[in-house]
Structures are given as C-alpha cells and as structure tokens.
Amino acid sequence: MIRLAGNSQDGIQSAGALLAKLAGRSDQDVMTYMTIPSTISGGPSIFQVRMGSGEVLSAGDEADFLVAFYQHSYEEHIEFLKEGGVLLYDSDHVQPNLDDKRFVYVGIPITGLTVEALGGTAKDKGKNIFILGLIAKIFDLDIEKLKGLLTEKFGGKDESILNTALMAFHAGYAYPVGNVLTTRYQFEMGRIEGAPVQVTMDGNTALAYGLIAGGVRYGAAYPITPWSTIMETLRSEFPKYGGLFVQCEDELAAVSMALGFSYGGHLAITGSAGPGISLKTEAIGWASMAEIPLIIVNVQRGGPSTGLPTNVEQSDLYQAIFGGHGDSPRVVLAPATVEDCFYIAIEAARIARKYSTPVFILSDASLATRIQAFDEPDLKSLVVDPTVDLTPRPAGYKPYPVNGITHHVPPGTRMLDGKYPVVTGLEHDEMGHPTGSPALHTAMTAKRRQKLQQLAAEIPIPEVTGGPDGEALVIGWGSTFGPIHEAVKSARDRGESISALHLRHLNPLPNGLEKIFARFKRVIVAEMNDEGLYGYGQLATILRARYCDPKIRSLTKTDGLTFRVKEILQGVLK
C-alpha cells in the first residue's frame, strides 16, 4: 500500500488515480482512499492506493510506502508506515528523524528536480508526475501503460500540457534512485486466461452510470460536497441520452423539479448531502403521500449542520428512514462498495418504478471518492429502456387503489372515460379526491405501508460471510463492508468463530434476519455514528426495535474516518 501525503493542490489525487487505473488494467485488485480539506486550495491531503492480487477489501491500515511532500505530511503520517517500510520524502521540504531506525529513508530534492526538469515556469507544479515516475522506477511498473494513461489524461487540445507531464514523468523515472525496496513487490500480474475485464472508477461515477443503466434520464440538484461530482457527471451525460439534468436555485427547487420530471413519467433523481437532504424533506413527504417515484441520493458526510464536510459518517440513517412529518414510508438502500454503487442505482430505479415510491440511496464520503477496479458489468442485460407509456387508458382507472399498488398515468395519456387524475399531497380517496375521512386515512396509511411490506418479502436474505454460526456476527451497512470483511477474515485466520452480514436494504429490512441472529452468541452492529443516548448506533437501534433481541450490541465511532480493521477487531473481540 502506497500513501501519498501532501497538500490538496499538489495533484496527489491525480497521481494516485493513475496508479489505481494502472492496477485495474493489470488485473490487480485495487482500492483507494483519500482525504481532502474543506478549503478551496491548500491544506493537508492524502491519497492512498492499495493493490494486490488477492481480494482487496479495504484501503488498508498501514502503508508499505509513504511519500511525504512536506514536514507536516511526514510528521502526521510516519506512524502509518509499517516497520521496514520506505519513506520517500522531498528533501527540499522534509527533515525526517533519521535516528528512527524502523524505516528506510529515501530523500530526493523533488521540488528542485521538478523545477529543473520543467524549466521553472510552472514553479513546482508537476511534482506529482515526477513522483509517479519515481514510483514507476522503484516498483518496476509498466511504463508504457503508464505513459498511455498519461496521454489519456493530459492529451487534450494543448499538446504542451502532455509534453510537460511526460517530461516530469521521465525526469522522475530517470532519477538514479537505486534499489530501495526491502521486500520485492510483484506488481504486474500475468493476465489470467478468461478473467473478466475490469473497469476502474470512483463510487460517485459508478452511481451516476448505474442510474443511466437503470433508465434514469432526468434529475435536478444543488451543489454540495461530496455529492457534486454525481450531478456534474449527470449534467453532461443525461443530454447525450436525450434527457436533462438541471442545477436548481436551491435544494427545495431541486427535489420539486425532480418530482415534476417523475410526475411527467420520467423517473428522476435528486441528491445531496445531509444539510441539503434536510431541506428536501417536505417534498419527499409529498412523494410518499402522492406516491410518486423518486430517487434521492445522500452522499453522507459528518454532521449535524455543516459538520465535517469532507469526512465520512453514517449518521443520516435515521433521517433517511424517518425524516419527515407524518407516517411517510420510503425505501432506503446503501451500497457496500464502489461496484455496488453501480448495481444499487439500478435496483433503486427498479424499486421506485415498481412500488411508485421515493427511494433513498445512502452512499458516503469515502465511497464517493474511492477508486476501485471491478468486473465490467454486462451492460446489455442491465440497460433499462426509459420509454414513457402514453397508451390510452381504459375506463375505470383509479390512481390510488386502496388494495393495490399505485401506478400513475403520466400526463399526455388519454383517459378513455374522460376522467383525468390529480396527484395530491392531501389525504385522498381512490380517485385522488381530498378527504378527511377517518376510515380512509387509516386505510390509505396502511396502503402506503403495505407496499413496502410487500417489497420486504421480495428482498433476498443476505449471505453470511465466514461460518453459518458461531461466537459473533458483525453486521454492517454501506462503506464499512471492506474493513468488516477483512477483520472477519483476519479473526477467522486466528481461529475466532466470527462472521459478517452486510445489509444493503435498510428500509424495509429483508425478512428472516432473526433466523441468522439466532445462530450466533453475539450480534455486533458496526457503524460510523454515535452510540446515542441509550448506547446504540442508528442501525443497531432499529434492529433492536425490530427484533427485540438484547444480544444485538453496538460498535460505533465518530472520528470522521473510515473504520480501520484493527478497530473492528478490537471492538468485536473484547
């Protein structure tokens, strides 16, 4: 695992992303992790790339190789370096404690050499690519492939940009760094015959293209970190498919416009992070009441309020499930990995259409920017046709059948009996007429709940990883999938009978979980939120309420960082 530590304007993200892409193309498993400060330019930032030929589940706890751009990068990250690991530092900026004999030190005047190589006009811009050249040399990477990737990235209209990048790369590659590695790393794997081709992207990209595969063509939103890159992608992509994404004046307009698209027959998407979702809440309640399909993406960050805008937290689960006045059932899904961001978007679209309901996708800041390689999806079997059905409807159509699932008729459809439906947020009868009837409010509230109970019955019971029974079951949701599974694997290697269960459907929950819980002595829910007033995290509280099982315990954390494998092991084995 390589950790690059510098400042946010140094371009370490793009250098790291190129490494990740190289690994993906070389049939390596790869996972990245990055932190960025919430300032516009400047502030400490890291990018971490972990590659391996086995299954790479988490971004890793400890680095084999640390690149420090500055003194603060060195001081803050040296403890993440494994004993025997290599510190590569910019000797123009960093003075390491060479008396600490745990590490191998490689000091190179990176800033000076970059300026020298590029002729000085760009100041020290290009350090990232210089370092990429150094890393390529040290790890004996395939430089032809890397140069190809550089050409893809920088080869645009201005040829000089690509030339500068290649100059910096060659300068780094040509530097006589010598043999600094104590361990031999096998980077380049031979292509395994018949192995599926991999695609490499981050979670927000996977989610955006999952929506497109799922037949979503319209959306509206307002920019907010870490959601914005999804809307940026969709703003450019939807028009290519004949659709449209609108940047609105605010979050309330965005959700309302998305509901306008959906009412018009085009299932739409809106998205945000916690603060923006708070603003959208009233309209989401309307979607629940009027039974309009809608996809709401929440790329969670640390809260409440403006909170930790660039850190990760899973503290919006209650908001997703319960946020809103009245009984307003909605579906809540959470992707486990970057790959799952793609597939869960398709599933969200399917559920929203089938049950005519708002569907939340709870991603988070770590999935948003994490780059992973995964098997190329079989798009042919996945792509959904978004054609709107405007065929005239026969007489007797009821928009809100009390004993059935609502399926709205999009405007533009002729009603053969001449009766046109109104969708409404007032309590209504089967025809959509407002009513205050106590019996109808009871029946319609039940109708809106029952469709989600029907959905629960069709959700497959998730598989248990590890053994089918034993001492402890670790339950997770969302981006904690990697560290939890790695912790379970590591514990089982040591002989502990620990298993994991990862929930992707959080509301409604799949049926039959109690049968799985019964086979374990302890059930521990690991999640990145606070233990709350009564000692349980948000999912743990819901599971305890649902199953009334006192053996359900909670492992929580609120430091704004992803779980480390060590933290889960400590929490589970204590």
């Binding site: 004949g242 999806p377 005239p392 405007p411």
Partner: protein, 313 residues
C-alpha cells in the same frame, strides 16, 4: 432512440372539448370568491383554444386558489406550499408535448415561493402561471400576505401591516419573466384575453389576477372595478401604425417603460406590461442535447454507455 422520439404521437381528441368535459369537483371556495370567475375564464379559454384534452396539465401549490386542479378535469397535481414553480418546470422541461398551467396565490408566489418565481422567470421555463392575488392569507383565516397594503389589519398585524408590500409586476420584470400581465377577476373577457396571450407566449408567462377574498378582505379591489365606482384602466399598447398618438402608447418590449407603468398607485393599470422573445430554457436545453447527440452520431443508449465503460478499462 431519444426520449422525444419515444413518445408516441397522441391521437386527436374525438370530440370538441366543452366546459362539461373540463368540470370536475365543485369548488370549495366561499360563495362570492373571485376565484370562481378565474376558473370560469380558464374553462372558456380552453374551450376556445381546443387543446388536446390529455395534453393539458393543471398544477398548484398550497392556498385557497391552489385548490384549482381539483376543479378542472385534466391531468393535474396539488403540490406543497411555494414549490409549484419548480414542479411545473420539471413537467414542462421533460414533456414538450404538454401545456403546463400553474395556479396559486400571493403567499405561494411572492412569499414562501418567492425565490422559485425569480428563478423560473430567469430560466424562462415555458409555462403559464396565473397568480390569484387577494392581498391576504385566506386559507389560514386572515393573516398578512406579502401583498397586503401598509396599514392592513390582520390577525398577525392587529394594528395594521408595517412591512412594505411586494409589487408583483416589478418583481416579475426584474426577475426576467418574459410575459407579464395583470388582470382583475371581475373582468372576465380581459382575463380570457390575458390567458390566451399567455398561452400563446413561448416562455415564462405570468398573470397577476386581482381576485377578491370576500371573507377576509372584502372590497379590496373595488378601486379597479367600474361597477363599484372604480376604474379598470387598460394599458394602451403600441400599434406600430406610425401615427402621432402611437408615440404615447406603451411598447411592451420596453422593460423600463413597463417598470414605470408598474409604479403607478393602486389600482394601477391592467393588461400586458411586458413581453420578450428571449429563448426558453426548454429550447436551449433541447438544442444542447440534440447537438451532442448529433456529434456522437445518435448512438443507442447501450452503445453510448458501453463506450463510456470501454474508456474506464
């Protein structure tokens, strides 16, 4: 296939669209409410224009006047307070085959939804918005509204309103609405005329319609009603006939002149203040999408997505 191509052509309406076809639930408004006349004018306008029944969409936010969609037998929706402009914008932008009509009151338009009105106008979304302005909150039983005049006594201003009221026409002009008109619910023919011109306008067309709340602000608009001794003065629009008297008439493409007319004291003038042919967001977005698709060679959805994934290998 692009989405526009995927929408089948609707078959023509078999019979003439009449008021009977358009009538739905009996209005829940108080007897004597100005909104009845607005509804009648809307029916009449639709009868005259003979739009395909299924392509008419009636939307609203919250308020007395926002009950409108229940009383019109067309596709429709009753949304939340203040957000009907973006809802209607979503329908308009994604469904060019539809005629989107939006109804609401002064609270919806100028208070809770004020920002959306600004941006709907700025973006020039193709729809028609009739704001039934009664200068009071009626559904919640007499609180001050954003258009209540200074000194108006309400349950929230028992000694008289002290906040400067919104001037709807000025607000719409500065926001960039491309069709701005004003009418009075007692003037049925004028209302129909304004609605017809708003419908014919390609862009964000707004009509402020003074509609009396007989329950909580009776007599509010008598000054604009000749039958109550007031004056219903209609804007004299330029005819471009080269006559000397035409010099004095109002050029509806002149924004500054419109702003000056909107500054006249109550009851002010009625008619079209401003109209501009600035391109709609609907047209600009469509052009972008069509150009992009043409550059790509009109690929199928699958071809396009596969190409993207090939680049990520």
């Amino acid at each position: 296939m692009s989405l526009a191509e995927s929408i089948p052509a609707t078959s023509p309406a078999p019979e003439k669209l009449t008021k009977k076809d358009l009538t739905a639930d009996h209005p829940t408004w108080c007897p004597g409410c100005g909104d009845f006349a607005v509804l009648a004018a809307f029916y009449k306008m639709l009868e005259r224009r003979q739009l395909p029944h299924e392509n008419i969409v009636t939307l609203a936010g919250i308020g007395c006047s926002s009950r409108f969609p229940y009383f019109v037998n067309t596709h429709g929706g009753h949304f939340i307070h203040g957000r009907a402009v973006p809802l209607a914008s979503g329908v308009s932008l994604s469904r060019p085959d539809l005629h989107v009509f939006l109804f609401g009151g002064d609270g919806d338009a100028f208070s809770i939804g004020g920002n959306h009105l600004e941006h709907g106008a700025r973006k020039n979304i193709n729809l028609t918005y009739v704001i039934m302005d009664n200068f009071v909150y009626g559904l919640t039983k007499k609180q001050t509204s954003p258009t209540s005049p200074l000194g108006f006594k309400s349950k929230t201003d028992p000694t008289g309103a002290i906040d400067q009221p919104v001037n709807p026409i000025k607000k719409l002009l500065t926001a960039g609405a491309t069709f701005v008109a004003r009418t009075h619910a007692t003037q049925i023919n004028h209302m129909i005329q304004m609605m017809e011109r708003a419908l014919a306008h390609d862009g964000f067309s707004v009509i402020e319609c003074l509609s009396e709340c007989v329950e909580f602000y009776p007599g509010a608009f008598d000054a604009g009603n000749p039958r109550k001794g007031g004056a219903f003065t209609v804007i004299d629009e330029k005819k471009w006939d080269g006559t000397p008297e035409d010099e004095q008439r109002h050029d509806i493409t002149d924004e500054l002149a419109a702003y000056k007319l909107a500054s006249l004291p109550f009851p002010g003038l009625f008619g079209v203040f401003f109209e501009s042919d600035r391109p709609t967001k609907n047209a600009l977005e469509k052009k972008w999408s069509e150009n992009t698709r043409a550059k790509l060679g009109h690929p199928t959805d699958l071809e396009l997505l596969q190409k993207t994934f090939d680049r990520m290998k």
